[in-house]
């Protein structure tokens, strides 16, 4: 992405060229680009798996795959999309944006940065290679619940090792983000003057450091249960299968917010820029983000209301989960208040950000319904849950990532994307995302369990619609790749400011920005 910029600044810098340049790079922009391209690749691999799933579910009866392979697809689709597509995309955005938004020359720990990226291709090669084993890939769901996951074939140790690697990569990335934000801000930029995207990433980084080791512990216990004769989770040896779920979701719920807090930051950046009005309630946005992060550690068992917890536990986790609606509501109200009496224009990033607010809120509504334990006994493990988390992750997290790419791409490359193609991409994506996921609410409420390769004929019609939507959504993303290609082959023409309503230090730099973003720290008043 930044190949041409690099050449200009390379003369005094002596870095290798070609492939070695990318392998040895310690530059935040290069590493950011690597993360983003890698996540795009994973998005397509995970998306391809989703299309296998939707093709099989197009009509009742098994037409394409056997149930065992279907389960491998659902498991891998989730692992790839969460750890391969969404998380690396946010880290890529952090790499590109944090230094240029806080007025720093680069990230604080450049070599660590290089390593945390280059772990990923190896981890995912190992993870994906399990699909070619005789016994196939992991098939127990991405949540890896024992005892089922202990029954898995030879893939299990490979999956666990690759998740360990992903965890190491995430933790290193998070350390780098925290070190950069806390130490390298431009003089005058106090914490409460930081751009909101920086705030959300700072909080996300702490969540990562707190949550990932918990996952590592859980999967290590799985590994020793399987290979070293321990019985942490096997009832026949005195262990407790439910304990795994508690440990897993103690990681899993903060993980959910790791996937959405940076998205909040992006939307809180884009909405003011295209409303030509300052973000409403900056302070309350920061406090809301922090409250959501803190609450995320005391709500985990709402993922497991049906395991037979004591009544007091069910009530506690229901009430704490409901509380999350308060800070999340504050965020949504603040976004709407930012738009109120603004002077809005609707370029592609703004369109994606607006769709984010509406569709993420719909996902939030179903989340509030799911929080109610009595009703959750019905919703749990049905397509209603599938609809819910896809609404917060696809038109939520993924839309925010796409919005961020459109918003900052002209800054990164100095080249403007085609606005009409961008809008076409937006409309196709938004229509198809709803065609795909909205009917899932209906079949879920009507009684269709999730993670099944085949279903009774009464669910056929809505499943057919969802499958059509999924293929439409998938194909629309090829347009996104074309738009990127089309933009990158243009000449540098974008203004430094790019968007007239945008604020922040990144817009004071040239487009594309210099190799070492801020050689001299700017002053923030």
């Amino acid at each position: 992405m930044s190949a041409n910029i690099h050449d200009i600044h390379d003369q005094h810098h002596h870095t290798p060229s070609g492939l070695m340049r990318w392998i040895t790079t310690t530059n935040h922009k290069d590493i950011g680009s690597l993360y983003l391209w890698f996540s795009l690749l994973m998005f397509f691999i995970g998306g391809f798996m989703a299309l296998i799933i939707r093709a099989e579910l197009f009509e009742p009866g098994l037409q394409l795959v056997i149930p065992g392979f279907f389960n491998q697809m659902t498991t891998m689709h989730a692992l790839i999309m969460i750890f391969g597509a969404v998380m690396p995309a946010f880290v890529g955005l952090a790499n590109w944006q944090i230094p240029i938004m806080i007025g720093a020359p680069d990230m604080a720990l450049p070599r660590l940065n290089n390593w945390s990226f280059w772990i990923l291709p190896f981890a995912f090669t190992m993870l994906l290679s399990t699909l070619f084993f005789d016994s196939g890939g992991p098939a127990a769901g991405w949540t890896l619940y024992p005892p089922l996951s202990l029954q898995g074939g030879n893939s299990m140790p490979f999956v666990i090792l690759s998740i360990h690697l992903l965890g190491i990569s995430s933790i290193l990335g998070a350390i780098n983000v925290i070190a950069t934000i806390l130490n390298m801000r431009a003089p005058g930029m106090t914490l409460m003057k930081m751009p909101i995207f920086i705030w959300t990433w700072l909080i996300t980084a702490f969540l990562l450091i707190a949550a990932m080791p918990v996952l590592a512990g859980a999967i290590t216990m799985l590994l020793t249960d399987r290979f070293f004769g321990t019985s942490f989770f096997t009832a026949s040896g005195g262990g407790d299968p439910v304990m795994f779920q508690h440990i897993f979701w103690f990681f899993g719920h903060p993980e959910v917010y790791i996937l959405i807090l940076p998205a909040f930051g992006i939307v809180s950046t884009i909405i003011p820029a295209f409303s030509r009005k300052k973000l409403f309630g900056y302070d309350s946005m920061v406090y809301a983000t922090a409250s959501i992060a803190l609450l995320s550690f005391i709500v985990w068992a709402h993922h497991m209301f049906t395991v037979g917890m004591p009544l007091a536990g069910e009530i506690f986790f229901m009430l704490t989960t409901m509380l999350i609606a308060v800070p999340t509501g504050v965020k949504v109200f603040n976004w709407v208040a930012t738009m109120w009496k603004g002077s809005m224009t609707f370029e592609t990033p703004m369109l994606f950000a607006l769709a984010f607010i509406i569709l993420f809120t719909i996902g939030g509504f179903s989340g509030l319904m799911l929080a109610m334990t009595p009703a959750d006994f019905q919703y749990h493990d049905t397509y209603f849950v599938v609809a819910h988390f896809h609404y917060v992750l696809v038109p939520g997290a993924v839309f925010a990532i796409i919005a961020a790419v459109y918003y900052w791409l002209p800054k990164w490359t100095g080249k403007m994307y085609s606005e009409s193609l961008g809008k076409l991409h937006f409309w196709l994506t938004t229509i198809f995302v709803n065609v795909t996921f909205f009917p899932m609410h209906f079949v879920g409420l009507a009684g269709m369990p999730r993670r099944i390769p085949d279903y009774p004929v009464q669910f056929a019609d809505f499943n057919a619609i969802a499958s059509v939507g999924a293929f439409g959504f998938g194909l629309s993303q090829i347009l996104f790749v074309y738009i990127l290609y089309n933009t990158l082959k243009k000449d540098v023409t974008a203004d430094d400011k790019v968007w007239d309503g945008a604020e922040g230090l990144e817009w004071t730099l040239s487009s594309p920005p210099p190799y070492h973003s801020f050689e001299k720290a700017p002053r923030v008043e």
Binding site: Q63, D240, G281, I357, T361, M372, Q378, L445, R451
Partner: protein, 266 residues
């Protein structure tokens, strides 16, 4: 013409819309009804909030746009407004939490049950034991569905009666009786779920979970395993036939006689 349309509208839902079910069934037990009520309460609250928030947003998108010449205002905070929209959602949540907590207490009270049904999950079938009446049997997917569901079975599953919803041995339960269901599993975690009889509970190896049902209406109720339990997770249906108490007693006697006959035969 008007009449014709009206009749069509009446006829359509029954015939075609049968497959387009969009909502949770209200069910036939106190627990399914309370789950439905909480579900609908939350649904309507979110609908109202949604209309308000999206309404303001859409109004703003239409009238506060640059192309109609709207100039941006300067305000960017208001402690008063922010306190209001923190406190009001909190109060709404309190209003929801009270009935939900009451419902939960009612749902988890398995005391004073008339009969006890022990359900054990296996890969991939269920075992049912009637603890008081001494009846027990296994129940798995019926042969017709099981043949049709194979990859490239060549059978049109639409022609299979109750495809993936039928079993060889049906669970028979008395109506108007509080039935305590004990749940466990022998291999991996399963979940026993019949939507019209209320919520699900996991059947976990090493655990005995419990839930209760009290079926108010005789009929056949169908469900399925709801926790991923391996390759045939999608193929372990549950069928419960609810009958009046007298008929249930007869069924129990018949089961016992059959078993005696079987034992003698051996």
């Amino acid at each position: 013409m008007k009449n014709y349309l009206y009749m069509l509208a009446l006829a359509l839902p029954a015939e075609i819309m049968a497959d387009w079910e969009v909502n949770m069934p209200r069910g036939v037990t106190p627990t399914s009804e309370i789950a439905y009520d909480i579900h609908m309460l939350m649904f309507w609250i979110t609908v109202v909030i949604g209309i308000l928030v999206f309404g303001v947003m859409i109004y703003s998108i239409i009238y506060h746009r640059k192309s109609v010449g709207h100039q941006p205002a300067k305000f960017h905070e208001s402690t008063k407004v922010e306190i209001i929209w923190t406190v009001i959602p909190f109060l709404i949540l309190v209003v929801c939490a009270v009935p939900a907590t009451k419902a939960l207490i009612m749902m988890e009270d398995t005391s004073d049950a008339g009969i006890t049904l022990k359900v054990t999950g296996y890969q991939w079938m269920w075992e049912y034991e009637y603890l008081e009446d001494g009846v027990n049997f296994f129940s798995k997917i019926d042969n017709e569905s099981n043949r049709a569901r194979r990859l490239n079975s060549g059978q049109n599953v639409n022609n299979v009666d109750n495809y993936l919803r039928n079993v060889d041995n049906v669970v028979v339960l008395p109506t108007d009786t509080k039935v305590r269901v004990l749940l466990t599993a022998s291999d991996v975690i399963h979940a026993w779920w019949v939507p019209e009889l209320g919520g699900k509970k996991d059947a976990i190896p090493g655990y005995v979970n419990e839930l209760w049902i009290n079926i108010k209406k005789p009929g056949v109720y169908r469900g399925a395993c709801a926790e991923l339990c391996g390759k045939d997770h999608g193929f372990m249906p549950i069928v419960v036939r609810a009958v009046p108490k007298m008929e249930y007693e007869k069924w129990v006697t018949l089961q016992k006689d059959n078993r005696v006959a079987e034992t003698k035969g051996n």
